[in-house]
């Protein structure tokens, strides 16, 4: 069994409530940080731990914190990004729903390190029942003296507020999130200035993902040096993976970043293999924005090495033959799935979610959706495939925020690895309406399971 740091106590009955959380070692890290460490020591510990942002970008958290400006007399803010909208990703929901005090404790320690006296949890509007859970946890924590004025007699004040969004993927981008929190449309800001200098209400702000803030708790408890031992290389600690698609056991798993992709998909501890004894065709390992990989490149790198569930290994080979760990939204597709149709749903998603500020993204996402629709519904031309390639290249890197890249990459990777499937759709428009292309040469190198008689 893999060791856990975040979900180790998630199954204890009543862990959602303060008393159970506390009696199982909860708030020990907050106590340690506030009473014995001081802000700088907390920052050092987080830096030492190698913790990387768990929202998808993987930027070192300690480094991000160290950028925060500290002008005299200007308030600083910590914002928790609970917008979780990347298709395939549903891990933060699990943390907030079942072990909310872990996030609250993480917010207390992190706000203390940053010198922030107000923290906001910006949660996607559709998670409409979760703010009640969080607000109850906040009220419990405040009642017990972990929030409010002069916490534990240290002179540190903190209030935490929950703010609901209202349906916009773009608000997961940190400057769009800040705009939304200010009561505006979620249009990303031009950077610089970065939020660390001018963020919420033009004050220094750090925006961190739910899982990132939760991970600060075990880091303070066990120390950065110990945290590094869970994982490999620059992928330190544990990562929550939300697994979905055609697998036997979809759900949220905490992994030590030292297991192979093959183990993650096929072992009973995690996904439990492909559903209905089908074979693995493709997988999007880190949320819909990252490149899709065919089975053969997913399980082994182009060099023939075992692909691991780490930032480095999943990215091995760059975009030519690799992908990214991203947000940990692990989408598995079996032999019956159609890559063209899947790519179409993502193109439609990004078109729907483009904020409309930058023309390459606003126009390009709609254009890609239209072309993909034609191919999927038997009206495609061979030249459409090159056209798609051309459009995605002209979006990538030409927008204010990374949504443009996120829209371009899935289309690019689908064509890169599954071009023959696109060509088959164009060449056999009638047949493509009635059946899917199947596995072709992407077959997983594992022996096909024998169907039960």
């Amino acid at each position: 069994m893999g060791r856990k740091l975040l979900l180790d106590k998630a199954h204890i009955e009543g862990i959602r409530y303060y008393d159970t959380y506390r009696s199982n070692g909860g708030y020990a890290a907050a106590e340690k940080a506030l009473k014995t460490m001081g802000p700088d020591a907390v920052l050092e510990e987080v830096k030492k731990s190698g913790l990387r942002g768990r929202g998808g970008a993987g930027f070192p958290t300690g480094l991000k914190w160290s950028f925060i400006a500290k002008p005299e007399g200007v308030p600083r803010y910590l914002v928790c990004n609970a917008d979780e909208s990347e298709p395939g990703t549903f891990k933060d929901r699990y943390l907030m729903e079942f072990i909310p005090h872990l996030l609250i404790e993480g917010l207390i320690i992190s706000s203390f390190a940053l010198g922030a006296n107000s923290a906001y949890i910006y949660i996607r509007g559709e998670y409409a029942w979760i703010p009640d859970i969080l607000e109850q946890a906040i009220a419990e924590a405040k009642n017990k003296g972990w929030l409010g004025k002069n916490i534990l007699g240290t002179g540190f004040d903190l209030e935490i507020y929950v703010q609901r969004g209202a349906g916009a993927y773009i608000c997961g981008e940190e400057t769009a999130l800040i705009e939304s929190l200010e009561g505006k449309r979620g249009n990303p800001r031009i950077k610089p200035p970065f939020p660390a200098v001018k963020g919420l209400w033009q004050c220094p702000t750090v925006v961190n993902n739910v899982e990132t803030l939760a991970a600060v708790v075990p880091i303070i408890n066990i120390g950065g040096d110990e945290y590094i031992k869970y994982g490999t290389g620059k992928s330190t600690g544990t990562k929550l993976i939300s697994a979905c698609g055609n697998i036997n056991k979809p759900g949220v798993y905490e992994i030590e970043m030292n297991i192979s992709v093959e183990e993650f998909i096929y072992s009973d501890e995690y996904c439990g293999g492909i559903k209905n004894n089908k074979r693995l065709k493709a997988c999007i390992p880190g949320g819909s924005s990252v490149p899709v990989l065919p089975a053969n490149l997913l399980l082994k790198t182009a060099k023939g090495e075992t692909r691991m569930m780490t930032y480095e290994s999943l990215a091995d080979g760059g975009f030519a033959t690799g992908s990214m760990l991203g947000s940990g939204g692990f989408i598995v597709m079996d032999e019956d799935q159609c890559i063209v149709r899947n790519t179409l749903t993502f193109a439609r998603f990004y078109h729907h979610e483009s904020c409309g500020q930058c023309s390459p993204c606003r126009e390009g996402t709609g254009w890609m959706e239209k072309v993909l629709k034609n191919i999927e519904y038997g009206k495609g031309k061979m030249s459409d495939i090159d056209l798609l390639w051309d459009i995605q290249r002209k979006i990538e890197g030409n927008t204010i925020c990374p949504l443009g890249d996120a829209a371009a990459w899935p289309v690019a990777a689908a064509i890169r690895h599954f071009r023959d499937e696109f060509e088959w759709h164009v060449a056999h428009p009638q047949e493509a309406l009635t059946r899917n292309f199947g596995l072709a040469h992407y077959a997983d190198p594992l022996p096909a399971p024998v169907a039960a008689v």
């Binding site: 549903f90 899947n342 749903t345 439609r348």
Partner: protein, 167 residues
């Protein structure tokens, strides 16, 4: 339609929300207050409702319109009592969302974006709601309905009908 006016209880809630932000930053309360307004005034935001929210938060009406039109959860035209918001993005699609959407269409005799003649049900397709592991799924009011099957959809429709009859 009744006059657009929050109850005393809701007005207190608005005050409580505004108090979360520094003085003068009450614009930040806009999205939470629009949620309250949509709940209180029939599940959608009319121009009157938006103007009321603008006055309440001391904003220009256009500041409210531009926000209300940006976010997909705000309905700008009337919807049925029960709004079925079915996810259709990749992970739900590979788990059979298309069939569920077709089933609901047939069962209710409406297309996507339409409302049944009795005003009870509206069907809407939405993009990823973060329940990919429990697909196919839909949002109904404040909660998610997950692992949908045709039988489960039937149950949900029956449940809504009996609730509507009870009211």
């Amino acid at each position: 339609m009744a006059e657009v006016q929050f109850s005393e209880e809701k007005l207190n809630k608005v005050k409580e929300i505004i108090a979360r932000y520094p003085a003068g930053k009450q614009k930040s309360a806009l999205i939470p207050v629009l949620h309250l307004a949509q709940e209180a005034f029939g599940g959608w935001l009319s121009a009157e409702t938006m103007d009321y929210v603008a006055a309440l938060l001391q904003l220009e009406p256009i500041e409210v319109y531009e926000v209300a039109t940006f976010y997909s959860m705000f309905n700008l035209k009337p919807v049925g009592t029960y709004l079925f918001e079915v996810c259709q993005t990749g992970p739900c699609m590979v788990s059979g969302a298309d069939q569920i959407i077709d089933y609901i269409k047939n069962k209710l005799g409406i297309g996507v974006g339409e409302t049944t003649a009795d005003g009870l049900f509206t069907l809407k397709t939405v993009e990823c709601l973060g329940a990919c592991g429990y697909a196919p799924m839909m949002q109904l009011g404040k909660h998610y309905r997950e692992h949908l099957t045709p039988a489960k959809v039937d149950e949900i429709i029956a449940e809504c009908r009996s609730k509507a009859n009870a009211n």
